[in-house]
Every structure is written in C-alpha cells, then in structure tokens.
Amino acid sequence: MSQEVLNPSAELATEATTKAEPASASVTKSAAPPFAISVRGLSVSYGQLPVLRSVSFDIARGQLVGVVGPNGAGKSTLLKAMLGLLTPDRGVVCVLGEPVGQCRNRIAYVPQTEGVDWDFPITVRDVVVMGRYGRLGWFGRPNREDRQAAIEALELVAMSAFKDRHIRQLSGGQQKRVFLARALCQRAEVLLLDEPFAGVDAATEQAIFKLIERLVQEGKTLVVVNHDLSVLNRFDQVLLLNQRVVAFGATERVVTDENLRRTYGGRLTLLDRADAALRENRGRS
C-alpha cells in the first residue's frame, strides 16, 4: 500500500497492479488473453512538447477504469494513442493481446462532442449505424441487421423516440447518448469513452453510469476519461494521470489525498526543464 502511494515510476506502478490483479480480476475467460489493454512505455509528444511520458499499465478484462487528471495531463491523448490515432515517440499498445491495428472492430471510441459539425445533414439513426461501418469494407452498405443493431443501441440509451430527428435538434446530453449508442452498436469488447459526463445533467449522468455498469457486467472493458472526482468510487480501478502515471490500481487504494495532490499539484517542472535543455543541446550538436 505504501509502496503504491510512494512509487514515482510507471514501472513500479505496473508491478503493483499486476500483484493486485488476482484480487480484482472478476472475469477470466479460459482462452482469453490475460489483458484487455496493455500499454508499455508509451511516450507521445505534439511537436516538441511532451504530453505523455513512458506510460505503462495493464487493464484486465471486464474492468471499469476511470482516467483522471488535470487539464493538459494527456487524458484524451492517451485514448487516441491507445486507438493508434497518434504515432507515439516510443512504446507499444496491445489491445486484447494484439497490436491495435489488428483489432479495430473490437474497440469502440466515444469522442468528445465538441469537434463535430452538428449541422451536418444526418439523422440520429444514421449516426448510430455508423458504428457498424468498420465491418462494411470499402464498398459495403449497412443491411437490415446493421439497422436493427442501431435501433437496439438507441433503445439502450433511451433515444429511440429521436431516431428520425436531425442531430441539430438534440440537447447536449442527448448528443452524448447518441455517440454512446454508436459505440454500443459496434458491439466492441473494449470501449474508450472521452468525458461522457461533460456538460450533462445529473439524471443523464446516472443513466449513462447505469449503462456503463451493465456493459461491465456483460464482461466488457471500459476506460472512461473523467473530469469529476466525486464519482470516482463507482470505478473498479482508477488511473491518475499527469503526463505520467501517478498511481494506478483499485480505486480505494489509489484515490488518496496524497495521490490526488500529487496528480493535481502541478507538473514535474524539472522534467520540462530537462527536456528544454536536451533540445538545446541537440540544436547545438
């Protein structure tokens, strides 16, 4: 326990998690690979600005993991790197025992809703059907089964009454639920959610959480980037992130005042200065 709190390096954090695994692994399939997600030494930078520094962790199947950290901690970047949308400087990501590129249909991603053109000429149902597009191939068209899956997904998020609406007519919480339905429609085993609760009222937050818990009961693995510290106790495991893994493990052990202070207490400025110094040296040589 004290080791978990104090360990400064990601490698140690991983060891601690691996040790904690037998206690928290509730779902184990006989032929299934040991980890749903395995990240090793992942470093990502935008230009010369480092965003993630040698991040390592393993997530067992059927876990509900919350990723928490301050603004600019690299939470969304971590999700994008796990999806293979960014080229990391170093490090490997394996999902379900394979490199991400090989199992894209088994991972679903729910992005933040800000970047989307909500005036795009498209109805709610058409957005949700897009969850099936990964399997269609180049020339494929969604068939009746795909459309049925979309309707079922909309029923799960209680949005089936809105299926023929244009997306412009949705409120913020409804937009989130439609994006969630699109991911559900994909019937993936691993779901990565980027701030599904941002700008959502309390009732919608409860509804989304119920749905998330139901997915976990079905044996799916969920990683949820979250801003709100008050709901952390609903996660099985929590990953405290601030460019590096501050702590990772079972919620009750990881979420301590000490760890949160270390997560939110500012960057490791010495590391930033070391980066700057290294860049200058490289420039000179």
């Binding site: 894209r104 053109d117 000429p121 498209i122 109805t123 058409d126 597009y133 494929g140 699109r182």
Partner: protein
C-alpha cells in the same frame, strides 16, 4: 436609364433564334460540369474545404500548360492528366506545408495555390507566339472553345464521379462527418481526402473551358451551399446539389446566349440566385419561413385573446360586441376581424351582425384559457412571489402555455380563487379536453 442599358451589348434579337446545335453541345457539357461540381461540392462544403476548392482550380493551370508543352497537343486528354496531377500535387503540398511548419492550413493553401497559379501564368506567357493556347480562355472560360472532345470527356467524368460517390457513399459519409472515429475504426481518412481532391481536379479541369479558373469554384460551392440549407440527409443534399448545379448551368447558358454575355459569369449568377432563394425559402432557417411562423404565432395569440374577451364579457352578463372586443383586447379593428373570421371557421364562435356568441367547443377553449390565466396568476403570486399588481401582464403571456395548466393546478394544490379573489373555472373531464 434606357441609355445606360443601351450601353450593354445585349442582343435581344437572339430570343427569337432557335438554339443552335452548337449551343446544345455547350449546354450539355456545362450541365454535366454543373452536376459533377454540385455533387462533389457537398463534400467540399461539409469538410470546410471551400478554400481548397478554389486553390485546386487555380493550381491546375501549370499542369495544363506543362502537359501542353510536353506533348505539343492541346487535346483534352493530355490536359486532363496534367491537371489531375497538378491538383493532387497541390493537395499533397498543402498537407506537407501545414504539417511540417508552423503555418496554419489556410495560409498554406494560399501560399501553394498562388505559387502554382503564378507559375502557370509565367509558363503561358513564355510559350512561343502563335501557339494555340489562350490564357484568357482559361481564366474566364470560353464556350466557343468547347469541342466534341470536351463533351465526350464530361460524358465520361460526370458519370464516373457520380458512380464513385454512390459506391463509396458510406465511407465518404463517415470520414466527412467524424474523421476521428472513422480512423479509429480503421477506415482510411486520407484515402478519401485524396479521392475527393482527385475527382475535384478532374471536374474542375473539365469545367475550365465553360466557367474559367477564377469562377469555377462558385459552381462547386454555391449549389452545395444552397442544398445544405434545405436538406436533413446527406443523400438528399447530394441529389439537390446536383440538380441545382445542372439548373444553374442550363439557366446560365440560356442567359448568356440571349444577352450575348460570357457563359461563366452567367452560370455563376444563376447559381447565386438559386442560393439566395434557398436562403430565403429554407424551411429550417429561411427568412420567409421565420416571418410566416411569427405571423402564425401572432394570429394564434390574437385569436385566443379574442376568445377570452368574449368569455369575460359573457361572464359579466354583457353582450359581446365587435367594437367592445377591440377595446378589451387592445387590438385594432382589422386584427379583431381577422381573428373572428379564423375563430368562426374553426367553429369556436358564431356571429350575428355585431354580436358574438361562443359555441360549446369555443366555450370550453375559452374556459381553458381563463383557467390557465388565473392559475398562472396564482402561481406567480404564490410560487414566484411576484407583486399582485404586476402579475396580470405576465399571465397574459403565460396563459398561451395552457397545456401546463393542469400541472400548475396540481402544484398549487387546486386553488378555488385567484389572487384577485375571482373564481378559477373548473373543467369537467368527461370526454376529452
């Protein structure tokens, strides 16, 4: 005025001349260009690439000239390949510059396309004299240069573009709507980007002779923007945009023919007319629709106010006369007359000369309104703690939300009298509202 118009070289006598077969050839070619540009334009507009569309049309110029220099042939096939290549190189260069420098994308577009365009102009001016290669034709378009070759090429390119979009419809849709999620699903976003760029270059070079480099972008953006105002689905936007493109081309060609003006500008103005009409007539946020909607709401409220005034007069034991209604509601006589006509056609009232009577459905409606008004007054006084003297005006407005009256009633615990001490009417619920 006549003098000013007379200066324009419009040849009205052309109205009576039957359109020549040559005109048909040029128009068919332009209509095909209009369709292809319109359909592709949807993706350009939705991907916010309007500037790239402009850039591509300018940047194909050096490709065309170099192809001409290499082959010594102004045949459309060669020029087409040169333009296609130049277009794709431009698209790739823009990506490169914005990715590997601090330059923002729009600046990168500006830098690359102007450079290409400048190169093209220098190459053209360096061509030996007497060469059959006309800069003006490329800049402003010249329908007289449209030959059977151009028509043939458009007859290949336009259906090819439409078939490609039909076949790859869903891929194009998801990469346009949500490129990040598409990439996460393993759908190649950049392949679709370059496909659109390639098709756009091909269409633009085909449209060069009809509209010219400078104006061809209007055929890409304007019909698609008009369709965007009117559609709720991508498929309908594509079809509508294609139709608009074709219409603009045909209307522009006819206009140019009868007014003896250049075809490109005429087509662009026709497209702009269509866009303006879509803006005004759009059911979603068109100006006309908004005015009509406001008018309908006003008529509805006037009608309800009149109905209520009749009810109140009858409640007080007075006769409801037209003149009395106007003073009670504060509406003008003509507005009262319009409202009464509407109420009569809905069979809510009967009129007998000056006297107005309520029918039984009218009585029910009016009771509902008065009830809503008095309930809202109670609500404002009790729940919102508003001053009793000021609640009437606010309730005048809130009473039109009479659907909520039952909830208000329940919240207040079914009061019998309003804050002024007047009885709140009740409604017997035997058969419906």
């Amino acid at each position: 005025m006549i003098d000013v118009l007379a200066q324009l070289d419009f040849d009205w006598s052309q109205w009576s001349v039957p359109f020549s077969s040559r005109w048909w050839q040029e128009t068919t070619c332009s209509v095909l260009v209009g369709i292809a540009c319109g359909v592709l334009g949807c993706f350009v507009v939705l991907r916010r690439m309007a500037l790239i569309g402009d850039a591509l049309s300018h940047a194909v110029l050096p490709g065309v000239v170099i192809a001409f220099m290499l082959t010594g042939n102004a045949g459309i096939g060669h020029l087409f390949l040169g333009a296609l290549l130049a277009g794709l190189i431009t698209a790739a260069l823009i990506k490169l510059v914005s990715q590997y420098s601090r330059t923002k994308e729009d600046s990168a577009i500006g830098i690359v396309f102007t450079a290409f365009f400048a190169l093209g102009i220098i190459l053209i001016s360096a061509l030996p004299r007497g060469t059959h290669f006309d800069l003006k034709c490329f800049l402003f378009g010249d329908p007289l240069a449209v030959g059977p070759d151009d028509l043939l090429m458009m007859e290949i390119v336009a259906p090819l573009v439409i078939v490609t979009i039909f076949v790859l419809y869903h891929r194009l849709k998801i990469t346009t709507f949500d490129p990040v999620v598409a990439a996460a699903m393993g759908i190649s976003v950049s392949a679709m980007h370059y496909l659109i760029m390639g098709m756009l270059s091909a269409t633009v070079v085909a449209g060069l002779k009809t509209t010219g480099v400078i104006l061809v972008v209007a055929m890409v953006i304007t019909p698609a923007s008009a369709a965007y105002q009117l559609s709720n689905r991508l498929s309908s936007m594509l079809i509508l945009s294609g139709v608009f493109g074709a219409l603009a081309a045909a209307a522009g060609m006819s206009l140019a023919f009868v007014t003896n003006s250049p075809t490109g500008p005429a087509m662009v103005l026709a497209a702009t007319m269509i866009f303006a009409m879509a803006m005004v007539l759009s059911p979603r946020d068109g100006v006309l629709f908004k005015i009509l909607h406001r008018r309908r709401v006003r008529l509805h409220i006037d009608g309800e106010d009149c109905l209520k005034a009749v009810y109140r007069l009858l409640e007080a034991g007075e006769a409801a006369l037209r003149g009395e209604l106007a003073s009670r509601t504060g509406l003008s006589y003509s507005r009262v007359a319009v409202s009464l006509r509407a109420l009569r056609s809905q069979r809510l009232i009967e009129t007998d000369g000056e006297v107005v009577r309520l029918t039984s459905p009218g009585h029910l409606r009016a009771t509902n309104l008065v009830r809503a008004h008095r309930l809202w007054e109670s609500y404002l006084a009790e729940e919102a703690r508003a001053d009793v003297g000021s609640i009437h005006d606010e309730a005048e407005y809130l009473e039109h939300a009479h659907e909520l009256a039952d909830e208000v009633d329940e919240t207040l615990g079914f009061p019998e009298r309003d804050p002024h001490g007047v009885v709140i009417p009740t409604i017997e619920r035997s058969g419906g509202p």
